[in-house]
């Protein structure tokens, strides 16, 4: 009888150990999901290419970047065909950077309005979400080299008789919107620009893009980053659907650049910043960034100004 009992006990213990291993693996994924983090799988450096350092990361081996995938297209958003996946041009850039560093990229979901505070609390290595340099951010943040040149775009209803004479190639300024109500996202560069125009009534939206408000005539126009207008209005990029009820008018204005934002008081920030800059420099030169921007229909000649070839 005894050997029988021992065998049972042995099988039971093996089952428990196996269960623990499986549960441990599942639990890790569960924790990652609860934290709003989305990993993209471990990466290995491309053979023959000198890897870039990965010292200073908050969690060794994991490149954690803060961004908001809600209303985040084309930067970072849930794939409409498979919402388990994150897609977007910034997701692809982060994947390419992580490849060069030989680490796993992980998006840390954070409401756009809270990115500054989350960065200050070191909840990720840096912000990478259409981030811009502002005087206020200069006080607490360090900035990477630019990775995209963008501008601001006016979008109106396609059938609005007040804008019939204008198209995307017209040369316009914000004076065309004087006396009107214009919406944009709170925290967007456009909000700061519109603040300087008391002739325009500005409505600020949190966590929501105001395209439907323009279509429903609750707003006369919206004014926001050109990649947003290109994706949501022109349907540029994977999964994009053109919205014929809207049209961009005027060439993009107020040109600026996107950068990665780092917490100045984080002692490792400068190290990771240097590594990100090295990676971006390589992606600019080897054609990876151009390829990503071409896929997302964001490529234009202005990108040469920041060294992208």
């Amino acid at each position: 009888m005894k050997p029988e009992i021992d065998r049972r006990a042995f099988l039971k213990r093996m089952g428990q150990a196996g269960g623990l291993i499986v549960a441990g693996g599942t639990f890790e994924s569960f924790l990652a999901a609860c934290g709003g983090n989305v990993g993209s799988g471990a990466t290995t450096p491309t053979p023959g290419v000198t890897p870039i350092g990965n010292a200073g990361l908050k969690s060794p081996g994991v490149l954690q970047w803060g961004s908001d995938y809600v209303s985040g297209a084309p930067y970072v958003f849930k794939d409409p065909k498979n919402p388990a996946n994150l897609i977007g041009f910034e997701v692809e850039i982060m994947q390419a950077v992580a490849n060069l560093m030989g680490v796993t990229p992980r998006q840390v979901e954070t409401c756009y309005g809270q990115l500054d505070q989350a960065l200050a609390a070191n909840q990720f290595d840096f912000v990478f979400n259409g981030w811009e340099i502002t005087d206020e951010r200069k006080k607490t943040q360090l900035f990477s080299d630019p990775y995209y040149v963008y501008a601001q775009q006016i979008v109106v209803r396609a059938d609005d008789p007040r804008f019939t004479q204008y198209d995307a190639n017209s040369t316009l300024s914000l004076s065309v919107l004087y006396g009107m109500t214009v919406g944009t996202g709170d925290g967007y560069k456009a909000a700061t620009i519109l603040q300087g125009f008391p002739q325009i009534t500005t409505k600020l939206y949190t966590g929501n893009l105001p395209f439907d408000d323009v279509k429903q005539k609750k707003l006369d126009a919206t004014f926001l980053d050109s990649p947003l207008a290109a994706y949501y209005v022109l349907g540029a990029g994977p999964g994009g659907v053109p919205d014929t009820a809207l049209k961009p008018i005027g060439k993009p204005i107020y040109t600026d650049v996107y950068i990665g934002g780092f917490n100045k008081s984080n002692p490792n920030a400068q190290t990771v910043l240097n590594e990100l800059n090295q990676a971006l420099a390589r992606l600019k030169k080897d054609g990876t960034l151009k390829k990503i921007y071409t896929t997302w229909k964001m490529w234009n000649d202005q990108q040469a100004a920041i060294g992208i070839v």
Binding site: D116, K203, T206, K217, K218
Partner: protein
């Protein structure tokens, strides 16, 4: 301190707008809630079923989904008739708060009515009162003091829930807070503290007045 002085006027406008949203929405929610409670208590299924469905749907769905439905869904229908400007952040915000809280207030009313012993109704009817007289003279006066604490609770919840209206560009206190947090990202604590103090200043007097009124009503009974 200079930051507080600089932003205070804007925060006060935000607090005023929060109060407007709540002081307009809550009475509407009470009226609709009373109607729903009466409907739900009815023995006629044509009255009770719609009330039950409304209450369950509203309580079982997030308020942000209701906001988008009223603001964009109803707005899209109104846009066909060129009336969508009437569905703005004020009207949609007040409608959503009123409809949402009506479902909760209906249950408060129902619980209040049920808490008055049935024997009182029997006594009133045996004295020759009509059912209307019984409701307004016997049941309601006894039920109201019991309902005041949950009403006050819900009003304070509404003060805070109104913050969700920032998604449709409503300029209430939290929207103003977010606006300045973006522009002062290196020094946000005084802004959060100011918003908390203003919410407290709005909520505390309401609690005290409600307690005083409840004591008066109980004393009168």
């Amino acid at each position: 301190m200079s930051l507080i002085q600089q932003v205070l006027p804007f925060f006060l406008i935000g607090a005023r707008n929060t109060l407007i949203y709540c002081f307009v929405s809550f009475p509407l929610a009470l009226l609709l809630g009373l109607l729903l409670a009466v409907m739900r208590s009815s023995r006629i299924a044509w009255f009770s079923s719609p009330a039950k469905i409304f209450i369950e749907v509203i309580r079982g769905t997030p308020i942000i989904a209701q906001i988008f439905l009223i603001y964009y869904g109803v707005g899209a229908v109104l846009a066909i008739y060129n009336l969508s400007t009437f569905d703005n952040s004020w009207t949609a915000g007040i409608a959503v708060l009123a409809l949402n809280y009506a479902a909760y207030e209906a249950e408060v009313f129902r619980a209040g009515f049920l808490s008055v012993e049935h024997g009182q109704t029997e006594a009133a009817l045996s004295l020759g009162m009509t059912s209307g007289q019984n409701f307004f003279r016997i049941v309601l006066p006894q039920a109201i003091p019991l309902m005041i604490p949950p009403f006050v609770n819900d009003f304070i919840y509404m003060l805070k829930d109104s913050a969700v209206l920032s998604v449709i560009a409503a300029t209430e206190l939290t929207t103003v807070l977010q606006f300045f947090v973006f522009r002062n990202s290196s020094n946000t604590l005084p802004l959060y503290a100011l918003a908390i103090v203003l919410y407290l200043l709005m909520a505390l007097p309401i609690s005290y007045v409600a307690r005083w009124y409840e004591r008066r009503l109980r004393a009168a009974l």
